[in-house]
């Protein structure tokens, strides 16, 4: 093999760099965070004692809230629509700040813990939910 030893050596270096995150985190798997809903806030929004159901069923929201929010964003900003009719016929204002976060007012537990666990950094908070971010300063 043409310069076999050198090729193998660099292959090894390359592989160890690429797989480093895997080895560094070996055995450190943690349990997924428990998602908690701020019952008080949700109850406040519903206007009754009990919590109001979310816009769409929980399974759909947990797997596809980003698509829903993405489409809300375009509908509100670009098409000037204001309200969303859910699959069971209820009407919601399409607003991350005013609709979503009024129920899920516990952003740290509800949003951030899971995002952190999944290693995703949504840029939503750069502009929305200003109260929470600025309040910390």
């Amino acid at each position: 093999m043409y310069k076999g030893a050198r090729v193998l050596a660099f292959l090894l270096v390359f592989l160890s760099i690429v797989t480093a995150p895997l080895f560094l985190n070996w055995g450190k798997t943690t349990a997924a965070p428990e998602i908690t809903v701020d019952k008080q806030a949700a109850g406040r929004v519903s206007g009754q004692g009990g919590a109001v159901a979310c816009v769409e069923p929980v399974e759909i929201m947990s797997s596809e809230h980003m698509q829903l929010l993405g489409s809300w964003r375009d509908l509100v900003v670009r098409e000037g629509k204001t309200h969303y009719v859910s699959s069971d016929g209820r009407m919601f204002e399409m607003s991350l700040d005013d609709s979503c976060l009024s129920c899920h007012s516990n952003r740290e537990e509800f949003c951030d813990s899971c995002h952190e666990y999944m290693s995703v950094e949504p840029s939503c908070w750069n502009c929305h939910d200003g109260a929470q971010t600025i309040g910390g300063e």
Partner: protein, 280 residues
């Protein structure tokens, strides 16, 4: 179309109202938008109803929104500072004390600076000394929209030139194209420069361009823009396409000018330099 109101409704929590049962006309089903997004990311289609998205009944509508500023009245009232403060505070415009990187939606300039092609060597001092509010002109043929490579800035059917901060890549072609210097880039994170964030409107992030939006978020609720509300009558807002509208009536009362008309962008902001109040 609803009349514009200048005071807030008692209850803006529209999410709690059942629009369907109160028999409100659903203006448009935005299925296209939702379907498109779903297809794009290749996910399983959310089981969304085909009614999906509507416009609230309160929303004010127009063929082409326009603003008339009675400059003499504004200067007599002397309340431009309040107007600017309301606009900037309500829209979380950062307060940056650096002329090169500041962000502004509305500000004042002298006649000779705002109407560079109309300035005369000898002219009436009372006009020369007036303060002219500068803001986005919401042009009929907006250069910014023409040059934007991502449609992050776009013209709505009602004439308003709006910004989609989510899509802006910060190339600043719109700023270069705008003949009115009405646009500002967030040269850095604006949040440290905002005194108290108003939760009614999102802040912006570094690297995106912003400007006056004719308060689209207020029009949605049937409310007039903040500047109009604060102006005590010197700012008149309405439908330029409607001969009976307040703006058209205001324009009947005297001589009005627009900035840099010869460039063909067709500003929707008119300055009434001579004339009285619409009712006078």
């Amino acid at each position: 179309m609803r009349e514009l109101s200048t005071s807030g409704p008692g209850d803006t929590g529209m999410a709690r109202r059942d629009f369907v049962t109160s028999g409100i006309v659903i203006l448009a089903a935005g299925m296209a938008g939702l379907g498109g997004t779903g297809a794009l990311v290749g996910c399983t289609q959310v089981a969304l109803s085909d009614k999906s998205a509507v416009v609230a009944d309160e929303a004010a509508e127009a063929g082409h929104w326009g603003l008339v500023i009675d400059v003499a009245k504004l200067n007599a009232e002397g309340n431009f500072g309040r107007i600017k403060a309301a606009c900037h505070q309500k829209h979380n415009v950062p307060l940056i004390h650096d002329a090169k990187t500041e962000v502004k939606w509305i500000w004042a300039e002298s006649f000779e600076h705002s109407f560079i092609d109309l300035e005369n060597t000898y002219m009436n001092k009372s006009i020369k000394d007036l303060e002219f509010p500068m803001l986005c002109n919401h042009c009929e043929n907006p250069v910014c929209v023409r040059v934007c490579p991502t449609q992050a800035t776009f013209q709505r059917p009602d004439g308003i030139v709006d910004m989609d901060y989510h899509r802006c890549i910060g190339c600043r072609f719109c700023m270069t194209g705008c003949p009115f210097n009405a646009r500002s880039l967030n040269f850095y994170d604006p949040r440290p420069y905002i005194g108290e964030v108003d939760p009614g409107y999102p802040t912006r992030t570094k690297g995106v361009v912003e400007k006056c939006n004719f308060c689209v978020e207020r029009l949605k609720q049937g409310l007039a823009p903040y500047c109009v509300e604060e102006s005590n009558g010197s700012f008149v807002f309405g439908d330029l396409d409607d001969p009976g509208s307040d703006v058209r009536k205001a324009l009947e009362t005297g001589f009005s000018i627009r900035r840099r008309v010869s460039l063909g962008t067709g500003p929707s902001v008119y300055y009434l330099v001579e004339g009285g109040e619409p009712d006078a």
